[in-house]
């Protein structure tokens, strides 16, 4: 009996020894445990907002190489949902960053969460940014390719050319009318002359 207990203790020790390197690996790469989101408290429509998420372990060490998903809450006709703004991977400092340009004013509820099925689950972080009306339209007023010398005048010239042909056709109609009148008058004259003869 005693021998059996010793053998079991020995096996347990061997099992612990075997498990030691695994736990050592776990100790080297701890699981992400904390997520903090940093966003400005306010901004204006068209501003570039800098969104940063810090991923750290339970002991507070930064976690590099973790993919963070940034989302914004939306509501449409009583349907609540969130739209993904973008994804970023954390650097050596455990920071994942992206910029976002708000298109409308109001309170913007931004959240950050870890991508994939992370265990144990990490609570997502959120922040509300107050967006004010911007000084101007957020869209850039200068878009497209600017071709020197090309503008609405080109459209006007093309249309003008076509309409000129239309007007010219109308002038030709007038001339056809006159030709007909001239021809009818000639016929009348020759008929009168024939009668006199």
């Amino acid at each position: 009996m005693k021998g059996t207990i010793y053998r079991m203790l020995l096996l347990l020790c061997l099992a612990l020894l075997a498990a030691w390197p695994v736990s050592a690996v776990f100790a080297d790469s701890p699981a992400p445990a904390k997520l903090d989101l940093t966003a400005p408290s306010s901004g204006s429509v068209g501003d570039r907002l800098s969104l940063k998420a810090l991923v750290s372990s339970a002991t507070g060490e930064p976690m590099p190489g973790v993919v963070v998903v940034f989302k914004v809450s939306t509501s449409f006709m009583n349907t609540e949902d969130s739209v993904e703004l973008g994804r970023a991977t954390t650097d050596k400092q455990g920071v994942a960053a992206m910029t976002y340009v708000p298109h409308s004013s109001g309170d913007l509820s931004i959240s950050a969460s870890l991508s994939g099925d992370v265990k144990p689950a990490v609570k997502s972080a959120s922040s509300v940014v107050k967006i004010l009306e911007g000084p101007q339209q957020y869209d850039s007023e200068q878009i497209g390719v600017s071709v020197p010398g090309l503008g609405p005048w080109f459209l006007a010239v093309v249309m003008g050319g076509i309409w000129f042909v239309f007007l010219w056709a109308m002038a030709q109609l007038r001339q056809i009318f006159r030709d007909g009148q001239h021809s009818a008058a000639q016929k009348r004259t020759s008929r009168l002359e024939n009668r006199h003869v």
Binding site: I162, Q172, Q175, I176, D179
Partner: protein, 473 residues
């Protein structure tokens, strides 16, 4: 009552056939007009409902804001291609077989261009919103280009139709058959003193010659701009550089189809069998088959490249179209709207029958209507937000207004063929007559307008006359 004289020669027979529909209104004609008016009346009632209640009575909502109305607009713009362009191309190509059909093609264009913008007004809800196009219109917008393009094409097509009508209006004015016609004053006023002199012929030929060259790019640009309304919008399914070519090809396809159908109807109704022969149907059938192959090519080219890359939401769009809820529409369009019409014309046994060629034309037009529906509704149904694809079900208001639009189009053509001859009588007579003796050069020079000396070939091909002496000299 005037005794009916026996019709002996070609000229008399042609005039009799062309002018007799103008001189009386049959019971069948009156019944057809009445039926069409019933449909238009239903449309007026539907519009009254929409005017009173707003666009909420339609199936259109914020996500699918273009439905049957815009589909019909694109469809009518498409068939308007039939006339002026086909007529102009065939005139330039001196295709002599075109002579009896050009007039009808021009009717189709004008009627379709009158009806098409009505659907834009319907889509706007309140018609007063039309003014926004001018108040807030921007040069950079394809919608503004479309307004200019449509107006120019409509006016140009109407002038083109009228120019080619002048000698026939003069024939109507001078015809003994139409001596007591109530619209005699109209013929006289619009015949602009046409006496058939050489200088008038020369002037008309030159004007038509220049006009037919100008109207082709106008027609092509009209369809191009209509396609750009879609292609220049940031939506994945419309994001295509070949949309303009696709629209022009599709427009020619459906346009030829409508022309074949109209030709068959008028042939039967006005007993024009002598002028609309099987060969005319075959020739137009060949054009139909050729355009169907072009449309097929565009389909393959577009979907293979898009399907290979699967950029953005194209995966969802193509899945919905090929195997999803839009699949019945797409495959009906592809098989019975493109493949079957081409086969009906390609197979000699079916090609020999006017009925089969008309069936091919009918299928082509049903197919092209579905294709327009898929472009408009299928494209808009794809969500821009993370929601499910949108659903659209047209209401009775939209179906009624669509039926009224089709009835209006048919009614316009029905009325036109009762006012002016459905075939270009003077061109057909001109074609058979020996070449007129040339007037002295001095006289021609006098009649020519100073400053514009464009010399073009006559658009009226003349048949070489056999020498009187049998060619012995």
């Amino acid at each position: 009552m005037e005794a009916v004289k026996p019709v002996v020669d070609f000229e008399d027979r042609l005039e009799e056939r062309a002018f007799s529909p103008l001189s009386h209104i049959s019971a069948k004609y009156a019944l057809l007009v009445a039926v069409l008016l019933v449909f238009i009346g239903l449309g007026v009632y539907a519009y009254q409902t929409q005017f009173r209640e707003g666009l909420v009575v339609t199936g259109m909502r914020d996500r699918i804001s273009w439905g049957l109305y815009v589909t019909m607009f694109v469809f009518f713009i498409g068939i308007s291609m039939a006339g002026t362009l086909i007529s102009a191309i065939l005139r330039i190509a001196h295709a002599e077989w075109r002579l009896p059909i050009t007039r009808m093609a021009e009717f189709v264009t004008v009627a379709a261009l009158v009806i098409a913008p009505v659907f834009i007004l319907l889509d706007m809800g309140q018609p007063t919103r039309l003014s926004n196009l001018f108040i807030f219109g921007r040069w950079q917008s394809p919608l503004t280009w479309d307004v200019f393009g449509l107006t120019t094409y409509l006016i140009g097509s109407a002038i083109y139709l009228y120019l080619a009508l002048i000698p026939d209006l003069a024939l109507c004015r001078d015809s003994k058959r139409l001596k007591s016609h109530p619209l005699k004053w109209l013929f006289k006023a619009f015949a602009v003193e046409w006496r058939g002199t050489h200088s008038q012929h020369h002037r008309l030929a030159r004007t038509l010659g220049i006009f037919m060259i100008v109207i082709i790019p106008v027609a092509v640009s009209m369809h191009t701009v209509t396609s750009w309304i879609f292609a220049m919008t940031l939506r994945e399914p419309w994001d295509s550089t070949m949309y303009a070519a696709y629209f022009v090809g599709g427009a020619l396809y459906s346009g030829v189809g409508v022309l074949i159908i109209l030709m068959a109807v008028l042939r039967k109704a006005f007993h024009l069998e002598e002028y609309f022969k099987l060969q005319h149907f075959k020739n137009l059938g060949y054009m139909l088959a050729a355009f169907s192959l072009i449309v097929m090519f565009f389909n393959v080219s577009e979907y293979v490249t898009e399907g290979f890359k699967l950029k953005g939401d194209m995966h969802l769009y193509l899945e919905r179209m090929f195997v999803g809820p839009l699949a019945p529409y797409y495959w009906t369009y592809a098989l019975s709207g493109m493949v079957l019409p081409a086969l009906l014309v390609a197979i000699p046994a079916t090609r020999r029958s006017i009925g089969f060629i008309v069936l091919a034309a009918l299928l082509a037009n049903i197919g092209m209507w579905i294709e327009r529906y898929l472009i408009v509704v299928g494209g808009l149904s794809l969500p821009l937000q993370p929601y499910h694809p949108a659903i659209y079900s047209p209401t009775w208001v939209e179906w009624s207004l669509m039926a009224a639009g089709i009835a209006g189009f048919i009614l316009l053509i029905t009325l036109i063929v009762k006012i002016v001859p459905a075939v270009a009588v003077w061109e057909m007579l001109e074609h058979r007559k020996p070449k007129p003796v040339e007037e002295p050069v001095e006289e021609l020079e006098q009649t020519r307008q100073p400053g514009l000396r464009v010399k073009l070939g006559s658009p009226f091909p003349e048949k070489p006359t056999p020498p009187v002496d049998g060619g012995r000299k």
